[in-house]
Amino acid sequence: MPQAVSIQNLHKEFILHNQGGTRIPVFSELETEIGVGESVAIVGQSGQGKSSLLKLIFGTYQATSGSINVLHQGAIFNVVAAAPHEILSLRRSTIGYVTQFLRCIPRVAAEDVVAEPLRDRGMALDEARNEARELLSRVNIPERLWHLPPMTFSGGEQQRVNIARGFAAHFPLLLLDEPTASLDAENRARVMTLIEDARARGSTIIGVFHHADERHRVCDREIDIGQQAK
């Protein structure tokens, strides 16, 4: 049985060429495996590279060396060695990535921001919008805001629009970077329910969660990045 994600000897450092070539090591020799349908929490101290690991899996960061094998449409796919169009295909159908920060596209209505990943997969506009509205109501965004661009929304509302977007397409693999940070208790609970639903559908989840009670609620186990890497 192939793993959902299998990481071998992963090394990441930033080299700041315009600051005298300063090297900022993140981690090296990281090894870990995550099974299909597993839900794991990445833990470790601040600065140990929890968010960086998620960005490496998503292809936003480039690994210095090593491999990140992801199960994509039944085949093993190494993100580190992939061409851009292959990573884009991976993001269209396999990996969803949710952060607390909305990568805001100016002037696009909230419902269309959420519908976009569905449209990318070829879903018709009306159907995608209906799904988007359903999700927006689940994360407690009032209906009067749905047709407005989220740029003017409060921080918490923007964050929830982003979460709705991340969960819209039912990705087999979800990367969650502190999705509930700075939300109030009620909205945190709503987001936790979305994560539980994704788990129940069989999605693999790799998350960074600030609160231990959230980790215990939605994760099978923890991966301590400090112990898995140097």
């Binding site: 960005k55 936003t60 851009p84 169009h85 884009l88």
Partner: protein
């Protein structure tokens, strides 16, 4: 994803001056590739070579046509290149005056491309022109006006619609939002985002504006002194640029 364009070892000199040096990349259907870099880096020259408007000194540009055949743009006849540019391709110039026929009406500008591919039915040409003007938010009442009477933003939208009328698969765009007011630029970018998505267009976009690249493109190519210093996913280049020049370029922009 089908490959549309395959560029191999492309070089272009102007006399002794090297404008593009050993450029290579593949472009797939529906991809938007932004070519960024400072002025003089060779990005517009590269775009003109790719579109067959300038002959390169070296290299191959293989285009996989709608009919499944592969054409080397460098070796193709002038007539074949021109035919591609008015059917399967489009070219949007920074200055709309370079891409429009300023002496004829807006409707005729759109109709011309249809007539070039053999459409002779006036009613059909007229209704296509109306439909495409509507698509780019130009009031139908302006269809018989000359582009001289249009504002800069409207001219640019007209230029885009003139290109789209033949349902191209690949558009070349040279600083399409350059020289427009910020609010007009924003509206044009929104329009382009929508069109690219709805029509499944592949686009090669030259811009010096990283915000435009971030908004429209999925892939980026950073050029400096005629060379590609780095290429990759747009979010990767913006968040984790590897090369000294791309790091400098990205860090020079105020965070959005």
């Amino acid at each position: 994803m089908k490959k549309l364009l395959s560029v191999q070892q492309l070089s272009k000199f102007f006399g002794e001056q090297l404008a593009c040096d050993d450029i290579g990349f593949d472009l797939y259907e529906g991809e938007v590739l932004a070519i960024v870099g400072e002025s003089g880096s060779g990005k517009t020259t590269l775009l003109r070579c790719l579109a067959g408007l300038l002959p390169p000194n070296h290299g191959r540009i293989l285009y996989h046509g709608k009919d499944g055949r592969q054409v080397d743009i460098v070796l193709a006849s002038e007539a074949a290149r021109r035919n591609l540019l008015r059917t399967e391709w489009g070219f949007v110039h920074q200055d709309a005056r370079d891409g429009l026929r300023m002496g004829v009406s807006a409707g005729a500008n759109i109709g011309e491309r249809l007539m070039a591919i053999g459409d002779r039915h006036y009613g059909h040409i007229r209704s296509s022109a109306e439909q495409w003007l509507g698509r780019v938010d130009i009031p139908i009442s302006r269809i018989d006006d000359s582009p001289w009477t249009y504002s800069g933003g409207m001219r640019q939208r007209l230029q885009i619609s003139r290109n789209l009328v033949t349902a191209p698969r690949l558009m070349f765009m040279d600083e399409p939002t350059g020289g427009l007011d910020v609010s007009v630029q924003a509206r044009l970018l929104d329009l382009m985002r929508g069109l690219v998505r709805d029509l499944g267009l592949a686009v090669i976009l030259v811009t010096h504006d990283l915000a435009v690249a971030r908004l429209l493109s999925s892939r980026m190519m950073v050029m400096q002194n005629g060379r590609v210093v780095e290429q990759g996913l747009t979010d990767q280049i913006l968040e984790d640029p590897q090369q000294p020049y791309s790091q400098l370029l990205v860090s020079s922009v105020l965070p959005v």
